[in-house]
């Protein structure tokens, strides 16, 4: 556990520095690191003002947003897998993705007027995501006897409905299809400090709540009835965990679009490395998810520079082989 934690934090630092250093404009690592220290009052910067702008206005907010999104999606995926006791659960299970997709598509198709008005897209994506989860909860999670399976099925129904509405909207406006498509695949390209500060409060609070739910999720691994007989308020835990995961995911998705794969693959990789206790899986997923997404984004924006690969494609391309290797080396998956 300690080894994995240390390696994860080291990996996170390497990923963060890589996110700042690597890019089409070549800037020496030592000068970038020197500039970072200069910002906290140690030494002085040797970067030109153009280089400083590239680092602090382009790469740094992008790296920061990647850290936040990766951490949130990974920990939300892990908590969903725990609370539903389902290895296939991911943060989009209850309709967040479909709701955000519909909201974003509506904004892009109807409110942009041919020109991009970025402020509407994240707002409507966020509203759509939260409306979808709340609807799912009202259908499948309210009654005392409702089970996790009912909630999952309600999520499937809500997602299907909203996805069909989103597809309809998209088909009605062929001129916007490309932009809708790019949004759906997820990207950190439009990251700015503004978007980072918009997301920070949600991610900090929601990640803290999710990580704090580790012991509750460990108890829930014995099923709902047994958890209740052990003194756990299953309904309350489920509500709090789903609310925090969904809110954080909605905030992240509204800023970066639908980045897939992180929420399902990172918790499984972490589980294979540290075992099945959520008290270990959750904090390590935060670090691992953050590092993973920043590395994936660095790959996405460099391998075909100056054009970019969709981030969702890279997360799958990088994540799937890593996952397969670890899976073949370790024991079978248990949730």
């Amino acid at each position: 556990m300690a080894v994995v934690a240390t390696l994860s934090v080291a990996g996170l630092l390497v990923a963060a520095v890589g996110g700042l250093v690597i890019g089409p404009t070549s800037i020496a690592t030592s000068r970038v690191v020197g500039d970072v220290f200069a910002h906290v009052g140690i030494g002085h910067s040797t970067l030109t003002s153009l280089q400083s702008t590239i680092i602090w206005q382009l790469r740094a907010p992008r790296m920061a947003l990647g850290l936040l999104a990766g951490a949130m999606l990974a920990v939300a995926g892990a908590t969903y897998q725990g609370v539903f006791r389902n290895p296939l659960a991911d943060p989009y299970l209850l309709g967040v993705a479909a709701g955000a997709g519909l909201g974003a598509t509506f904004a892009i198709v109807n409110l942009s007027g041919g020109l991009s008005t970025p402020s509407w897209t994240p707002l409507l994506a966020f509203v759509g995501a939260m409306a979808a989860v709340v609807t799912t909860w009202l259908i499948g999670g309210r009654s005392m006897r409702s089970s996790a399976a009912t909630l999952i099925l309600a999520g499937v129904a809500v997602s299907s409905l909203l996805t069909s509405a989103q597809t309809f909207l998209q088909q009605q406006s062929t001129g916007s299809i490309a932009r809708v498509y790019i949004w759906l695949l997820g990207s950190l390209a439009s990251a700015s400090w503004h978007s980072v500060w918009m997301v920070v409060p949600y991610v900090v609070v929601c990640v803290a709540v999710c990580v704090g739910a580790g012991r509750a999720l460990d108890v829930m691994s014995v099923g709902e009835d047994e958890s209740r007989s052990l003194g756990l308020s299953v309904r309350r835990v489920r509500f709090v965990v789903i609310a925090a995961s969904s809110l954080g995911t909605a905030a992240v998705v509204s800023a970066v679009g639908l980045i897939g794969f992180v929420g399902i693959i990172v918790p499984h990789i972490v589980r294979l490395l540290v075992g099945t206790s959520y008290r270990r899986i959750l904090p390590i997923s935060v670090v691992f998810g953050a590092a993973f997404l920043v590395i994936a984004d660095t790959v996405a924006r460099t391998v075909m520079a100056p054009s970019e690969l969709p981030l969702g494609v890279v997360t799958a391309l990088v994540g799937a082989p890593v996952f397969v290797v670890i899976l073949s080396l370790r024991r079978p998956v248990a949730v």
Binding site: M144, G212, R215, A216, D218, V219, S221, V222, G223, D225, E226, R228, S229, L230, G231, L232, S233, G275, T276, S277, R331, A334
Partner: protein, 281 residues
């Protein structure tokens, strides 16, 4: 004051009545086993006693307090459950599994304290589980697994323990072992046991009191030796039953309808030396 009291308890599932107006008072330190044919409502009844099912009518009281008015943690400190099919979370160690039983004491945001650990260690010792503490729960045999589930219930330190068919799937030796462990705890700590069992012989030997449930209603309730010898028992199970006294223990033997043709007399119990037969039907 009774340790467990059911007042006109009814449990419905939709329009189907599973348990109908059952009133029962069980004194502290008593082992009460609920018997009855499949579908009699035994599991629904014990789930209601454990607080997992909300009564449609009536109430369940543990130590004088109504279970429906207790918080989750208070309830877990009052009554522990050994379910019929416990979930075994692969990857968890036996120690961590048993330690879950202390959740109601240390809560969600604190680790088990010194007091909790003392209780856990004591139960590990009493149930001879120390050698398994670091084993993955998924690697245990059926008997070891049930002992582990029993240990989790014991560390809840409740005065009442509810067991739903705790010996399902165990061989004879492990069935006896598990019930003896439980009996030891009843005798040593004054634990009150509400259990369901299909094996009438074991039910009769271990319980102080048997309650025969059929179609959700109590049809017989009394000391074990009286209930197992009752004519009502065979008629409710709709079969021939004989009770043989073997060294003072009532052994309930099912006999094929029309007599055991083609079987030896010994199987009919007629040649069992020194045995008293209680013809039931």
């Amino acid at each position: 004051m009774s340790q467990v009291e059911l007042r006109e308890l009814s449990v419905n599932a939709g329009s189907k009545v599973l348990v109908s107006k059952v009133s029962l008072a069980v004194e502290a330190g008593t082992w009460c086993t609920v018997i009855g044919p499949n579908g009699a409502g035994k599991t629904s009844l014990v789930e209601a006693v454990a607080g997992l099912r909300r009564p449609s009518h009536g109430s369940v009281h543990i130590g004088g307090s109504e279970i429906g008015s207790m918080g989750e943690r208070e309830r877990a400190r009052s009554v522990a459950l050994v379910p019929q099919h416990p979930v075994v979370p692969a990857g968890m160690s036996v120690y961590d599994y048993v330690a879950l039983g202390r959740l109601a004491y240390h809560g969600l945001f604190r680790s088990p304290g010194a007091g909790d650990k003392r209780v856990i260690e004591s139960v590990f010792e009493r149930l001879a589980l120390s050698d398994f503490r670091n084993r993955d729960v998924a690697t245990l045999s059926g008997g070891e697994r049930q002992r582990m589930v029993l240990a989790r219930a014991f560390v809840q330190s409740t005065m009442v323990i509810v067991l739903d068919e705790p010996i399902t799937g165990l061989d004879l030796r492990h069935q006896m072992e598990l019930l003896e462990l439980l009996k030891g705890e009843v005798d040593a700590c004054g634990l009150t046991v509400i259990a369901t069992l299909h094996d009438l012989t074991l039910a009769g030997q271990f319980a102080d009191r048997l309650v025969l449930l059929d179609r959700g209603e109590v049809v017989l309730d009394g000391p074990s030796h009286e209930v197992v010898r009752s004519d009502e028992l065979a008629s409710r199970y709709a079969m021939n039953l004989r009770v043989i006294d073997v060294d003072g223990a009532d052994v309930v033997v099912p006999v094929r309808h029309g007599g055991p043709s083609g079987t030896s007399n010994a199987l009919r119990g007629e040649a069992v030396t020194g045995a008293t037969r209680w013809p039931i039907s």
